[in-house]
């Protein structure tokens, strides 16, 4: 009885305070961004390397979260779009010698174009679309591994060029991290902004109930295409950084398992929560590094983590955190 009263109170709270929700999101944004800019840079060394990996996957997970968590468009081939971005950027740098900012944009655009191509399949409703995204991922991976003339095949690409931005050569990890952190901050900020605007509300409405969204006049197919293209473009941008971290590029970084890992990141962090995507990426990148002795159990642990978080924490770490803070607020009253 008490519990339901509390819940309804907190629900009223939610309705009444769209603006306070907005403010909360920006507070969380500020906290996460300040951690991002301070922790890896001040600790340095191995932590900097971890920070580099986390930032790349956090960007990618943000893209996936927008598609899956917000707009409910499940993609089972997310890593493929990271791969498209990575190969586009590196090959343009190597063969044409284009500056990194141009190739980064090209990576985003190519991945967006591929995403738009995949988005044409939304005519296949529901389950069929999900399986088509899976097939898309497989097709891209096979092209990357077998089109040897273009991609170097499964042997991969070596000799990744150094990033140069308007004349500056980014040779250190610190420099690379600054680039990544800037990109992450920018994309995260834009997505928070977007999620509170008209487009973000439309995405959420589609994610919650497509038929209802259509009935209130939201052009559902167009928004679905927009969100899929957007999510894939973000994955492409994230992918463009990956070869610079690994100093090597191979199709094995973009398999079905990687797509799955991205999905686990956003689920563990909390479906529908942007900070959740970043937290999930951090957990899934950092934890295995400290559990190297148990490397053979890595995927098993990921699977258990996924099932357990789905059953025990349906809203993920971010959702649990939000519920905790809400409960505190009600108690304080």
């Amino acid at each position: 009885m008490l519990r339901t009263a509390k819940e309804s109170l907190s629900q009223q709270n939610d309705f009444a305070s769209a603006t306070s929700q907005n403010r909360n999101d920006w507070i969380v944004f500020a906290v996460i961004v300040s951690i991002l800019w301070s922790v890896p840079l001040s600790l340095g060394g191995f932590y900097l390397y971890l920070g580099l990996a986390v930032a790349i996957y956090a960007i990618s997970a943000l893209g996936l979260q927008t598609m899956v968590g917000l707009a409910g468009q499940l993609s089972l081939g997310h890593a493929a779009f990271m791969g498209i971005g990575a190969y586009t950027s590196v090959l343009l740098q190597k063969t044409l010698g284009l500056p990194f900012l141009v190739t980064l944009a090209a990576a985003g655009l190519t991945a967006a174009a591929a995403g738009l191509l995949m988005a044409q399949l939304i005519r296949l409703s529901g389950v069929y679309f999900k399986i088509a995204t899976f097939g898309f991922g497989i097709v891209v991976h096979q092209i990357l591994s077998n089109w040897t003339a273009l991609t170097g095949g499964s042997a991969g690409v070596r000799g990744i060029p150094v990033i140069s931005i308007i004349g500056f050569q980014v040779e250190t990890r610190t420099g690379l991290f600054v680039c990544e952190a800037l990109t992450l901050t920018l994309i995260y900020g834009l997505l928070v902004r977007l999620s509170h605007g008209k487009i973000g509300r439309a995405f959420r409405a589609i994610g919650q109930n497509e038929a209802a969204a259509r009935s209130v006049g939201i052009p559902v197919p167009r928004y679905r295409m927009i969100v899929i293209t957007l999510g894939c473009a973000i994955a492409g941008i994230a992918g463009a950084y990956l070869p610079h971290l690994m100093r090597f590029l191979s199709p094995e970084s973009f398999t079905w398992y990687e797509s799955l890992t991205c999905l686990i990141m956003i689920t563990v962090g909390g479906l529908g929560s942007l900070p959740g995507a970043i937290i999930g990426a951090a957990v899934l990148i950092v934890a295995p590094e400290y559990l190297r002795d148990f490397a053979q159990y890595k995927m098993l642990a990921f699977g258990v983590l996924l099932v357990a978080s789905m059953i025990l924490l349906p809203k993920g770490i971010a959702g649990a955190g939000a519920a905790l803070s809400r409960r505190k607020r009600i108690h304080a009253r």
Partner: protein
């Protein structure tokens, strides 16, 4: 290589896809979820078959199939009861259910890697290497067994669904769970039984597939192509799944021969996407 020989091997692999696809379809109809763990259940079945062969070498191969199927079916029953039912009862979203079955699939395939090791296993039975002659060409001796099992299983399923009370209850629960539960069908049992049945069929497919190839923890990836088969023949329809499996099996073997064998997996999916674009509900789908 001879074309008819290619056709024959495509047909055999197609039968395996069909059986796994039937499992997909049954679970989809009964529980309304896309079971991404189906391929991994097939893999578990193949490993269970391996363990049975190791521990009881005297057992004839055709008896290994039902034993492995029964054991895997009970595993499927436990999974459905413990992990899937709470989520379905809560009315969880499709995205959630897909992620849940994906998670179960990861646990199964990596659990199998821990139990049976990372190295691929070969069934230590003569059937693995035996061939029979069809015309003047040698053909793996397990092919007729695959065809026979598939026919028996499909006929058996048909009889189960049309002639028995259990089958009627399962169909009723799949079509309209609410009404069926008013009529005394236990929804929870019906969905778990369907899941178990699908797991058992998958396991039979795994055991039969093992002599053509080897058993490894990554074998579940084959399930993904079976998935394309189920979708292509319209998800939820058993005859559709059978046809879809054969189309994918023959299509990818012939296509791999004509284009390049590296792109075999892609061919299966391009075939699926192509057919879906022409006929959005699959080959056996109803209009609208």
């Amino acid at each position: 290589m001879n074309l008819s020989l290619q056709l024959l091997s495509g047909l055999a692999v197609g039968c395996i896809y069909s059986l796994v696809a039937v499992g997909f379809s049954m679970v989809y109809r009964a529980m309304g979820l896309v079971n991404f763990a189906q391929g991994d259940l097939m893999m578990v079945g193949a490993f269970v078959g391996y363990s049975i062969i190791i521990s009881a070498p005297a057992l004839p191969f055709w008896l290994v199939v039902p034993f492995a199927a029964a054991l895997t079916a009970s595993l499927g029953y436990v999974i459905a009861q413990s992990a899937l039912w709470p989520a379905i009862q809560r009315g969880a979203s499709q995205t959630y259910l897909v992620l849940l079955t994906l998670g179960i699939g990861i646990v199964l395939s990596n659990g199998a890697r821990l139990i049976w090791g990372a190295n691929p296993r070969v069934y230590p039975i003569p059937l693995t290497h035996e061939t029979i002659r069809v015309g003047q060409y040698p053909v793996p001796a397990v092919y007729p067994l695959i065809g026979l099992t598939m026919v028996v299983l499909i006929v058996g399923l048909h009889l189960l669904f049309t002639r028995t009370w259990l089958g009627l209850a399962l169909r009723a629960a799949a079509d309209d769970a609410q009404t069926a539960s008013i009529m005394g069908v236990n929804r929870r049992f019906a969905s778990a039984a369907s899941f178990a049945l699908a797991s058992g069929i998958g396991a039979a497919a795994g055991v039969l597939y093992a002599p053509i190839t080897f058993v490894s923890a990554d074998m579940g990836m084959l399930g993904i192509k079976a998935f394309a088969a189920a979708v292509l023949g319209s998800l939820g329809s058993i005859p559709g799944s059978v046809i879809g499996g054969l189309v994918i099996g023959i299509g990818e073997t012939l296509g791999g021969q004509l284009v390049s064998s590296e792109y075999q997996d892609s061919l299966a999916f391009l075939l699926m996407i192509g057919i879906l674009l022409v006929k959005p509900t699959g080959l056996m789908g109803k209009r609208g």
